[in-house]
Symmetry: C2
Subunit: 194 residues, 2 copies
Amino acid sequence: MPITVDHEQRRQKIAGIATDIIANKGLDGVTIRQVAAMAGFSTTIVTHYFATKRELLMYTWRAAASRTRSRVDRVFSDSPCDIQGCLEALLPINKAGIRDWKVYFAYWHVASVNSQFAKEQRYGIKLTRNIIRRVLKNMVHQDLLASKTDTLVIAKRLLIYVQGIAIQTMVNRYEWSPKKQRDFLENELGSLLH
Amino acid sequence: MPITVDHEQRRQKIAGIATDIIANKGLDGVTIRQVAAMAGFSTTIVTHYFATKRELLMYTWRAAASRTRSRVDRVFSDSPCDIQGCLEALLPINKAGIRDWKVYFAYWHVASVNSQFAKEQRYGIKLTRNIIRRVLKNMVHQDLLASKTDTLVIAKRLLIYVQGIAIQTMVNRYEWSPKKQRDFLENELGSLLH
């Protein structure tokens, strides 16, 4: 009987290993050979799913971005006007968030010298901005924000604050505790929205 | 007659080449061998100045940070209350700024997985925050800001805005023209200070 292989599961396993290498050692440590060894696969199997290191890195980046958006979506589906909660879900506020932000740092560097990754990154920023905007629109709809609010401008500013806070946190996690990140964000939201 | 060698000039030449490689190809491209070839030096000469790749990278990072601070200092010595001008000097608003920000992106990634670089980065953020704070204190002194202003808190927030704007710009330079960066900053300063 042929062995049934769950290809999507394998792809995710390989990307998960690449993520761990990036988060612990940095991009330099990611090689098809190393990933294969850690997964217990031959390099042939790995290159069946990812023909090049670049393909593997792109998939790994998309997986991190997708995980972050899923965290926001969970908050959003519970409380569609919870702007504080949705933005917190974007921050490196817990282990999963910190791991994904390490991947983002790696990709910001790659995107700054590679146009294909830069394009992907612009697309990711646009998606994230739209998620924030969706919450703001709900708030307008529920009279929690003035109807004349320019939700695009506010969403851009909020994303900039989130990215700035994330950088501070990633550089100095002792100073930027989850509580400090939340408080800082709350303060910015207070200044911006009220 | 012995040939006089300007060691500091050589060190800077080597670091300048490393900077160009980082900004054009990424950190991966930096090797002692490659840098030596581009400088027209033997690898022995390069390793005389930088025993390891890590030493070269640390020096290169410090040089970028130091160039950025020099740009701010020039604005500051001309007009010690020009907060807009000093913050603009921190942004990727011209070729020199963009080149240095490419180095920062590379180092954020390295710092996220290397404690020695992370420590250096925290120190750099503190220095930059203090430069911003110095301007704010001058503004208080000249009655341009209320005397009760918490200059540390405001400096932290401003640095976060600058880093957030820089990320947007580095990812999408077509959208984030120098004018847009300036306008955005002016708007944030308006909300925060007045």
